[in-house]
């Protein structure tokens, strides 16, 4: 790890101001991605600004319409929340299967979506549920927030404060995971929301994406049979030592079927 300065933010405004002042700052949430990245010398920030003690980023609240989760909530906290499990069980289940118990005790919702790893789980939930990302300066839909592989719409110094997940009629997430890293080789979240059926895929492509063809078919007939013949082209999908693009394309169908079974 290269040397860096360290600053513990006292508030969201303080964190943004510190970022502004630094040459090349990095926000530290749970550190489950940033610290390994620093160890590999893939990043060399001049200062690390720790968001870990900000109470503004904590808390879960539930309204009639939505579950609002603070960016600093750990995956373990989301998974263990009775409020989340009652309102959106598919979201609690997703959080319960990120990484491993130790990672879930440190990793946060805000850190996960701000990093936008193409194999991360939360982007699937943000897009499938039609969530709104509240940053320190504005509100964004998932489609506007996630802009590409490890890329988001966040401006330098802008940070995620909370995410508001509209409560769907029903939703489920199915993941084919890498057994070592537990990241999604392919993850599919399907939700029946107020604005219709939404199908979001993570792990398979350079970033989270929706599958309009499946959404249309499921809107007509919410069943496995309705999507069985839909073929996803492998052209733009990821290929690595774990899975070819063609295999990932196939897995999208399989995970979608599993998500439908879990819901229906």
């Amino acid at each position: 790890m290269y040397a860096f300065d360290y600053q513990r933010a006292k508030s969201v405004a303080d964190a943004a101001a510190a970022f502004e002042k630094a040459d090349d700052a990095a926000f530290l949430a749970g550190g489950q991605t940033l610290i390994p990245t620093l160890k590999q010398r893939l990043r060399q920030p001049s200062v690390v600004i720790d968001l870990g003690t900000l109470t503004e980023l904590k808390g879960i609240s539930v309204t009639q319409e939505a579950v609002i989760i603070g960016a600093g909530m750990t995956h373990a906290e989301v998974a263990a929340s009775p409020e989340v499990a009652k309102a959106i069980p598919g979201l609690a289940d997703l959080a319960a299967h990120i990484g491993d118990p130790q990672v879930r005790n440190r990793g946060t919702l805000g850190g996960s979506i701000a990093n936008n790893d193409p194999a991360a789980d939360y982007p699937g939930a943000v897009v499938a549920l039609g969530a709104t990302v509240h940053t320190s300066t504005r509100e964004l839909s998932g489609e506007d927030f996630f802009t590409g592989m490890f890329e988001t719409a966040l401006a330098p110094g802008e940070l995620v404060v909370k995410v508001s997940f509209p409560i769907p009629r029903r939703a489920a997430y199915a993941k084919f995971r890498n057994p070592a890293s537990r990241y999604a080789i392919v993850g599919v979240m399907i939700a029946e929301t107020a604005s219709g059926i939404r199908v979001a895929v993570t792990g398979a492509g350079p970033g989270v994406f929706r599958v309009p063809e499946m959404e249309g078919a499921l809107s007509q007939n919410f069943s496995i049979a309705a999507i069985r013949n839909i073929r996803i082209p492998a052209d733009d999908l990821n290929a690595d030592i774990h899975a070819t693009a063609e295999y990932r394309a196939h897995l999208i169908g399989v995970m979608a079927e599993r998500a439908i079974s879990a819901i229906a």
């Binding site: 300065d5 160890k39 720790d50 491993d100 118990p101 130790q102 005790n105 890293s181």
Partner: protein, 161 residues
Amino acid sequence: MIDVALTVNGRAMTVSVEPRTLLVEVLREKLRLTGTHVGCDTSQCGACTVHLDGLSVKACTMLAVQAEGRSVTTIEGVAPDGVLHPMQAAFREHHGLQCGFCTPGMVMSALALVERNKNKPLTEEIIRSELEGNMCRCTGYAGIVASIAAGAKAMGAKVEG
């Protein structure tokens, strides 16, 4: 250098560290608590698992400065008077280790999983899924799972099967 005030195994202390110092480096190199092992140093293997305010974390994937004001328990803190904790005794009794390198992390994860699941009966399935963050390259895990079930029982937990 930054002063970090924390509690380690019940003892309040202040350590002076560089911002990039990992918690596991403070534990092993400054405090000489070498029971916490570094296996992979990439957040995979769990040999470095300690408790942070009672929750299991990987000490190789946390900066020491992030432990400010927090309470850390290492494997040394599990048996402070030199008598094995029931979970440690169960690992010895049920062949829960061969080379022993992963064992401190396994025991810390075992204690955390017993605590986290105290409101329901512990099953083999729960134990196995809770051990996803800990790797053992010797045993094949059967002895570890049996040890944790026995250790949990000895701690008064309800265990099924």
